[in-house]
């Protein structure tokens, strides 16, 4: 999904505010929200980390940007606990004494048709291009590298394919690659010529060039 979460390269944002000696959690409810999400993934086992990421991505973009990080965590966890029928939206709003906004529903056909790659197809130094696909559901190839050409720096172990595991599809693992893209390949002349971005991409996302 080309959602608001896919922020790499978006303009219009201002300075980055750094807080000195920042605590791990600023308020008790942030601590609680963090732990509730871990509970949902592990002790309750209602959803996995890919489903969680996608639930956050499905938040209304205005809510996503207005929310602090732990409000996004809370919204993602609550959305999945409602979708998995552990709690109801009505119960949540009764308990909260007001609106409890959840994320948008999952798309009808969330996954693109990407052929599973059980063997690592690429090696260090290979020149690759990111496939030009537009899955309506979860994917981890950021929009800013779609169709862009890079070079493999490193091969990581096989990991669960997120486009599938976020949508309850059968287990599928693939190697990921650290692929380096010159900044000028990504952003044309507006980028420095001594800068690059390395993106960690599953085998299925890539094609040889």
């Amino acid at each position: 999904m080309d959602g608001i979460h896919d922020l790499g390269g978006m303009g219009g944002f201002g300075p980055i505010e750094v807080e000195r000696d920042e605590p791990v959690f600023h308020e008790p409810w942030e601590r609680l929200a963090f732990a509730l999400n871990i509970l949902g993934i592990t002790a309750i086992g209602a959803y996995n980390a890919d489903e969680y990421r996608h639930a956050v991505e499905r938040m209304d973009p205005a809510h996503y940007l207005a929310a602090s990080y732990y409000e996004r965590v809370l919204t993602g966890a609550a959305t999945l606990l409602v979708e998995k029928r552990i709690v109801t939206h009505h119960e949540l709003e009764s308990g909260a004494g007001g609106l409890f906004p959840l994320a948008q529903p999952v798309a009808e056909n969330p996954t693109a048709d990407l052929k599973p790659q059980t063997q690592a197809r690429f090696k260090v130094g290979d020149r690759v291009v990111v496939r030009n696909v537009f899955p309506a559901g979860h994917t981890r190839a950021p929009r800013y590298v779609r169709g862009k050409r890079g070079v493999v720096l490193h091969i990581a172990p096989a990991f669960s394919f997120p486009d599938g595991s976020a949508h309850g599809l059968s287990a599928r693992s693939e190697h990921t690659y650290h692929v380096e893209f010159p900044a000028r390949e990504l952003w044309a002349d507006s980028a420095g010529n001594d800068e690059s971005v390395v993106v960690d991409l599953w085998d299925s996302y890539l094609e040889a060039r």
């Binding site: 609680l32 609550a78 909260a96």
Partner: protein
């Protein structure tokens, strides 16, 4: 959200978090002590102090440095640092010609065992949007002016690899102990928005 003119504000986040916790508790889905144990672990066990000890060891022990750069997951585990969001870690070696910076543009993935839960600035839309597009300017705004001769590599944490930067050891620390060195290594340096700097007593 379609019409801001007519939208009501949501309940405060603390009311929402408490409501969810109370509901799950009523349904007996929260094992005794679970929530506090998880959060306490996040506050105390996952810490940039761990990563700082890894960096200091790599600075004083060339064999450890090699092991760290070849297999950071195992090298961190040697010092006792492992766990969730640290299943596959990679250390990025700064050199006088190359500076590494870490981001997670799509969410806020971080190597918890060695960096701790990430700070607000790392999770902000500002950092996530901008550092992949204008890294030199972002670093400048955050107080790090790199010489033009230094290239910048930005690492976007888009899969399961969790990165940490192995910064340059500051000059003038040749006779410092590993413990002294570890004190100088900040989370910011291990993410790449700062260098490790020291005030040496001889100056």
């Amino acid at each position: 959200m379609s019409n801001p003119r007519r939208s009501q504000p949501p309940a405060p986040p603390e009311a929402r978090a408490n409501a969810l916790a109370e509901l799950l508790d009523e349904k007996r889905l929260i094992p005794a002590g679970f929530l506090d144990a998880v959060a306490t672990n996040a506050e105390h066990e996952w810490s940039p102090r761990n990563g700082a000890r890894v960096v200091a060891r790599a600075w004083v022990d060339p064999e450890y440095r090699k092991r760290l750069l070849a297999d950071a997951t195992t090298a961190c585990a040697e010092l006792g640092y492992a766990g969730p969001q640290g299943e596959y870690m990679v250390a990025l070696e700064d050199t006088p010609a190359l500076h590494n910076v870490i981001v997670c543009t799509q969410c806020s993935c971080t190597a918890w065992p060695v960096l701790g839960l990430p700070p607000d600035w790392y999770k902000s839309p500002e950092y996530r949007a901008r550092v992949v597009r204008e890294p030199r300017r972002v670093l400048h705004e955050m107080g790090l002016d790199l010489p033009k001769s230094v290239s910048i590599r930005v690492w976007d944490t888009t899969a399961e690899t969790r990165y940490m930067v192995l910064p340059l050891r500051p000059a003038g620390t040749e006779d410092w102990s590993e413990e002294q060195l570890a004190e100088t290594v900040t989370r910011e340096a291990m993410i790449g928005i700062a260098l490790v700097s020291v005030v040496t007593s001889r100056e």
